[in-house]
């Protein structure tokens, strides 16, 4: 059986006055039904562009090459109308900022029933019942009253629950969650992450969870792709990644997370420097200028994505703990 989603050599670049900006470079990723993939990286690493490119939500300045195989069929060449048919029922997305993603002048009920009537052809009464059922599922108190409310009347956590209810309303097979908890408090974040995992198992959805925080993906994904400057630099099953980290970048990202066990007054290790200019295509490893282990080889030769066994791939000349 072919995987639910397979990206083959996906490239995305944007035309800018300074030249082509390569946001996503030769990405290969596979996701099975019911599986969860974490895409982790800093701002500007290309993680959001990756998920938007897969959904077909790129602006017209973007150029996309490579294959996007959804259930074995390449959807990258489909006309926009046909891709649209997949939205909601095939693939759905939850956006980072629940305030701006909801329409501020329309009632929650209208926004929640829209895809039900348009996509599933339900009549108003059925859609309303289904909407209430969905809101109960995402644990919204007083769902009937909620139908009449506007987004500004809700807290961030409630808005994100509404977004989730809208996204899963047409039982999609694949859910993209783009930093779904970044705008939320830690307590609400924990609740929302758990809800997403529950729903994924219940509907047997594939999920791509995009985040900058390794702590968020650790307990809620089956595998993780770490992105840096448009490249997938490490790609492995979650446990394998945490137990046997190969990329110095992933290690640095992990170390910079403040933890409760850290003694007070400790200086957090930081990643010095910044991402390379995405419009320049310089040779060598893109992380070399910030990597504590970098050598001359790293600055001149681009490391390939190496198969380290155990489905663990990394892009480094001198992986931590040695190569295979």
């Amino acid at each position: 059986m072919s995987p639910l989603l397979k990206l083959e050599d996906l490239n995305v670049s944007f035309a800018t006055p300074r030249g082509d900006l390569r946001a996503v470079k030769n990405v290969n990723i596979e996701l099975n039904q019911g599986e969860s993939l974490g895409v982790v990286g800093e701002s500007g690493s290309g993680k959001t562009v990756l998920s938007r490119a897969t959904m077909g939500l790129l602006p017209s300045t973007a150029t996309r090459t490579g294959k996007i195989l959804y259930k074995g069929e390449d959807i990258s060449q489909l006309p926009r109308d046909e891709v649209r048919q997949l939205w909601g029922t095939g693939m759905a997305m939850i956006f980072q900022d629940p305030m701006t993603a909801l329409n501020p002048v329309r009632r929650i009920g209208t926004q929640l029933t829209e895809s039900l009537t348009v996509r599933l052809g339900m009549n108003k009464k059925d859609a309303r019942e289904k909407a209430i059922e969905l809101m109960k599922r995402v644990r919204i108190p007083d769902p009937e009253g909620m139908l009449r409310k506007f987004p500004y009347q809700l807290s961030g956590g409630m808005r994100q629950r509404i977004m989730i209810a809208i996204a899963v309303s047409c039982s999609p097979e694949m859910l993209f969650a783009d930093e779904p908890t970044t705008a939320l408090d830690v307590t609400v974040q924990a609740q929302v992450l758990e809800l997403l995992t529950e729903l994924r198992k219940e509907f047997n959805m594939g999920m791509i969870l995009v985040t900058h925080d390794l702590g968020v993906v650790a307990g809620h994904t089956d595998k993780i792709a770490v992105m840096y400057a448009g490249d997938v630099v490490e790609y492995a099953p979650t446990r394998q990644l945490f137990n046997n980290m190969k990329m110095p970048y992933t290690e640095a990202l992990l170390k910079s997370i403040p933890r409760l066990e850290t003694p007070t007054g400790t200086r957090l290790p930081v990643i010095e420097g910044r991402l390379p200019d995405p419009t320049k295509n310089e040779p060598g490893c893109s992380f070399a200028n910030r990597c504590p282990y970098a050598t001359d080889k790293c600055r001149t030769e681009t490391p390939p994505l190496t198969d380290g066994g155990n489905q663990h791939f990394y892009r480094c000349w001198f992986p931590i703990g040695g190569g295979k």
Binding site: E42, S43, R139, P141, S155, G156, G157, M158, D185, V186, T187, V188, Q189, A190, Q191, V192, L193, E194, L195, H212, D213, L214, G215, V216, A218, G219, H220, T238, R239, F242, A252, L253, L254, S256, I257, P258, R259, L260, T262, P263, T264, G265, T266, R267, L268, P269, V270, I271, R274
Partner: protein, 329 residues
């Protein structure tokens, strides 16, 4: 507390700030009143970093702003450098402003997009006549260097040309410009990536050591405040729940709300998944807070007593205060 009390005050210390019974209410009309902060007391000893932690809507930002009289609190007293701020006239208050500064949550929107960095930093210095043009210029370079930005590169740029982390560095430089005694940092790292967050936390610590600052650090994330604070105050719905040193707070958590906060911190370890079960739902409306202990509606240990009697802050071990009728053993 989700209660009241002043057991945690330290009258013998060298106190920069003493806040007593501070209440902030917002009148919405039609007899609706939002009780954002209800009778909070705390003090700040010179050189310490007090972290105020709680969920959205617990009143932590309102409390921080009320200390700076932005706007003036509804009642209570704020004593800064032995002067009472709440009864001051506008001009008296203005004279106090250089000593108390603030850093805001969103670094991009808190900088004027039309002003170059040099103008952003020069403004406070010019307003307070801190020297000639040349001296001010030198001071700007010094400030930018202090926050690890290259003055030659950044001076003439505007805020939209910078990343979030760089904007936050500029905000810190601006707050430092008038040599303040105290800086209130309102969620300074919540809008930043984890890697940048670590840089800013380290920078704040460095600036504190270098300029002898006293900090109030407002955050919703206990792990973030752990590294830099010397004392943590946990707030819930306008009240104080627990006050302790960070190490004590994590190793010997007493309040059920603090426990939920500690348990919600995502741990980067696949074998220790976080669970959302520790605390369900969201805080009740601050327009009609529950009677007694304000946390009782979400507390697993709530009893009859919690509904009737408001718990007061009491010392459970040295320097550790909790407002709970049934603290965790």
């Amino acid at each position: 507390m989700a209660g009241t009390g002043k057991a945690h005050m330290r009258p013998e210390g060298d106190r920069v700030l003493v806040v007593e019974d501070l209440t902030v209410e917002f009148n919405l009309g039609k007899n609706k009143v939002v009780k954002a902060v209800s009778g909070v007391s705390f003090d700040l000893v010179r050189g310490e970093t007090l972290a105020i932690v709680g969920e959205s809507g617990c009143g932590k930002s309102t409390l921080g702003k009320a200390v700076l009289q932005l706007p003036k609190p509804t009642s209570g007293s704020v004593n800064f450098l032995s002067k009472e701020l709440t009864t001051m006239s506008k001009s008296e208050l203005r004279d106090m402003r250089p000593a108390m500064q603030m850093i805001f949550q969103d670094p991009v929107s808190s900088l004027d997009p039309r002003q170059p960095v040099s103008a952003v930093l020069a403004e406070p210095l010019q307003v307070w006549n801190k020297g000639s043009e040349v001296e001010i210029d030198q001071k700007i370079d010094e400030l930018l260097t202090a926050v690890n930005l290259d003055p030659a590169v950044v001076r003439d740029r505007r805020s939209y040309e910078f990343s979030g982390g760089q904007c936050q560095r500029i905000s810190i430089a601006r707050a430092l410009a008038l040599d303040p005694t105290m800086i209130i940092c309102d969620e300074p790292v919540s809008a930043l990536d984890v890697s940048v967050q670590a840089q800013i936390l380290n920078l704040l610590q460095d600036m504190k050591d270098r300029y002898g600052l006293t900090l109030v650090f407002i955050s919703h994330d206990l792990a973030v405040v752990k590294t830099i604070s010397t004392r943590v105050m946990v707030m819930y719905l306008g009240k104080v729940c627990e006050v302790a040193t960070p190490d004590e707070l994590y190793t010997n958590t007493k309040h059920h709300y603090t426990k939920a906060l500690v348990g919600s911190v995502p741990i980067p370890d696949p074998d220790r998944p976080i669970t959302g079960n520790l605390i369900q739902g969201e805080p009740p409306s601050p327009m009609s807070p529950p009677s007694g202990c304000r946390f009782r509606t979400r507390c697993p240990q709530a009893s009859e007593k919690c509904a009737q009697e408001e718990p007061e802050l009491r010392e459970v071990s040295l320097g550790h205060f909790v407002a709970c009728h049934h603290p965790i053993d």
